[in-house]
Amino acid sequence: MVTYTDEIRKTAKKLLEDKTVDVFIGYKKGTVPMMNEPVLVSDADKADTLYWDSFCGLNLCNYLTKRTDRIGILATGCNSRNIVTHIIENQIKRDQLYIVGIPCTGMIDHRAVLRAVKEREILEVTENGDSFTVKGNDFNETFDKKEYLQANCKTCTHRNPVEYDEVIGTPFEEQEVSEAYRDVEKIKGMASDKKWDFFTQMISNCIRCYACRNACPLCYCPTCFVDESGPQWVGKSIDPTDTMTFHILRAYHCAGRCTDCGACERACPVGIPVRQFTRKLNKDVFDLFKWEAGLSLDERPPLDVYRPDDYNDFIR
């Protein structure tokens, strides 16, 4: 990780100095443990604020839309796929970007770590290759990183960036994941009333802060459907129907576009596993169209296009 940080700083400095880019988007070390803050560096001298560790969970792609300058940006596998999605959805131009790829080893689930130390306050986390050490006032514990990865990182099969101008570190072999959708299958197997109970229970804590939506790079619409007033699709109160409507429609809007970067789930202040919605659609889109989002600059997501020769009879 230290090497990544150094490399990132060096690369950003070089790019800013030789004016390849006007700005560089990366992370800086956060003010609280297990939290880094996205940062925009426009001055080569400030490249040293850049930082990298396994808590860079927020998707940097969020910061690309509507920019007109030349941008250097860090991209892990999923983030690079979101950049591709942004390019094909006209949110940014490829030639505006200098993508610095990072073969990602996965992000650590800070909530799992908290649980592991029984909610005692963590004051410092240090990483050391495949393990990390957590320090508090009266404890000091070391964990195997693999065990504490975010759920999406555990099943990730695109850790290497798919679109980049330069890579930091060495791309490694992608992991083989079996039964990546075991959770989805489990829900699919439930009786419909059980399923409904499951989802109702799942979102019961939702406070409609829209952190999941806003943390998602796919949600760039100037006016979200939840904010439309003519007609008003979704009520503003915390009526469970409205909340469910929000979550289901949000997921549908992401169908075929989601890269399972996990930003939504990580951002949720009340810990709702919102990926349960998007994952089901990711699976369906894969099963139906053999499609994974953000792997190609030439093709649009299957639900975005109309084909008169669609293989499904029903559409003809």
Binding site: L58, R115, Y210, A211, S237, P269
Partner: protein, 348 residues
């Protein structure tokens, strides 16, 4: 001012006994977090907690509150007439509330209960609620109550404060409402001097544990327009994703919106939390939006809390130092850092 001692092993029984007089809310562990729940909902109270994830403001000021109902059925005799929705103002007690959150109610009170205007629903619910505080023996690293006029054992806004002495709670009545609560509480014994002494020591050591110092002393001296035009806002706002987490978790954010919802012929007028982080917050009917971009909205939030409120009420900042926004912001925007920037800002 009464001082009473409650043995911890008897504490739950004591609370059960009070259920006749109050609807009692206690901190309960819910998944990874703590939250206030009514005592009778089958979950065990857990007073050994840093703080709740959501502030208890929703107990006085619900996220969504139906205030009126009406019918659009022309054949109904009361068609189009607003009828107030029945609300429950019976006495309630929030037991275990942290001093910062109680302090927050005092900050907010200036807005909801002013000489010019009173929000009847907020006021009635606040008045019917007794706040039984629990001092913080072990403040966490994001706590900065001491910087904003509070403290881990601050009594402002509380009716009773509890000191956790290990085996027992020392309860100190602070108001008439609080005294009344203690009088009804069974299983109390008179506090001995040793306990009182230990409580004092606890309070002191807790205060010392808060090392963070967020300077707010010069905010009032700044010129609003200069601060408004400060160059750091773009940088502060860069990482913000404009979610409502900070405002919805904040015990002092009070903004709301009134919405009508009609299903079929039955309509409700509902008061909902709103957030200055949302573009819709300031969208005009004309389509114009005076706070059309992110940095304007981020600036508004901090300016409101740390400057407008300060200037308007002369009551310190609109922040109780609970640290929730720092802890839960998905992009780590830290109000303590922003406050430092504002407090030390100099326009050159």
């Amino acid at each position: 001012m009464t001082l009473k001692l409650f043995a911890k092993e008897q504490w739950l029984t004591t609370l059960e006994g009070l259920k006749e007089s109050y609807k009692i809310f206690v901190p309960v562990r819910d998944g990874d977090f703590h939250t206030f729940m009514p005592l009778d909902e089958g979950k065990k109270p857990d007073f050994d907690y840093p703080n709740t994830r959501l502030s208890p403001k929703s107990l006085i000021y619900p996220q969504s509150e139906r205030i009126f109902e009406y019918s659009l059925d022309e054949s109904a005799p009361d068609a189009h007439i607003l009828k107030e929705t029945e609300k429950d103002y019976s006495p309630r007690a929030i037991v275990g509330i942290r001093p910062c959150d109680a302090h927050a109610f005092k900050i907010v009170e200036l807005n909801f209960d002013s000489p010019e205007y009173k929000d009847p629903w907020w006021v009635q619910r606040y008045e019917s609620t007794v706040l039984i505080g629990l001092g913080c023996n072990d403040p966490v690293s994001t706590c900065f109550c001491t910087s904003v006029g509070g403290g881990p054992f601050d009594e402002d806004g509380l009716d009773v404060i509890l000191y956790d002495l290990g085996e027992s709670y020392l309860a100190k009545g602070l108001t008439d409402k609080g005294e009344d609560f203690l009088a009804k509480a069974k299983g109390r014994t008179k506090a001995d001097d040793a306990s009182i002494k230990r409580a004092e020591e606890l309070a002191k050591s807790a205060s010392d544990k808060i090392s963070v110092n967020v300077p707010v002393d010069r905010l009032k001296d700044k010129v609003i327009n200069e601060l408004f035009a400060a160059s750091f806002w773009e940088e502060v706002a860069f990482s913000c994703i404009n979610c409502g987490t900070c405002t919805y978790l904040c015990p002092t954010c009070w903004c709301f919106d009134i919405q009508d919802e009609v299903i079929g012929k039955e309509g409700d007028r509902i008061k909902n939390w709103d957030s200055c982080m949302f573009p819709l917050f300031t969208l005009h009917g004309s389509g114009h939006n005076p706070r059309d971009n992110k940095f304007q909205r981020v600036r508004q939030r901090f300016m409101h809390k740390l400057k407008y409120y300060v200037d308007k009420y002369d009551n310190g900042v609109q922040c109780s130092g609970c640290g929730r926004c720092v802890r839960y912001c998905p992009v780590n925007i830290d109000i303590r850092e922003v406050c430092k920037l504002m407090n030390s800002y100099r326009s050159d």
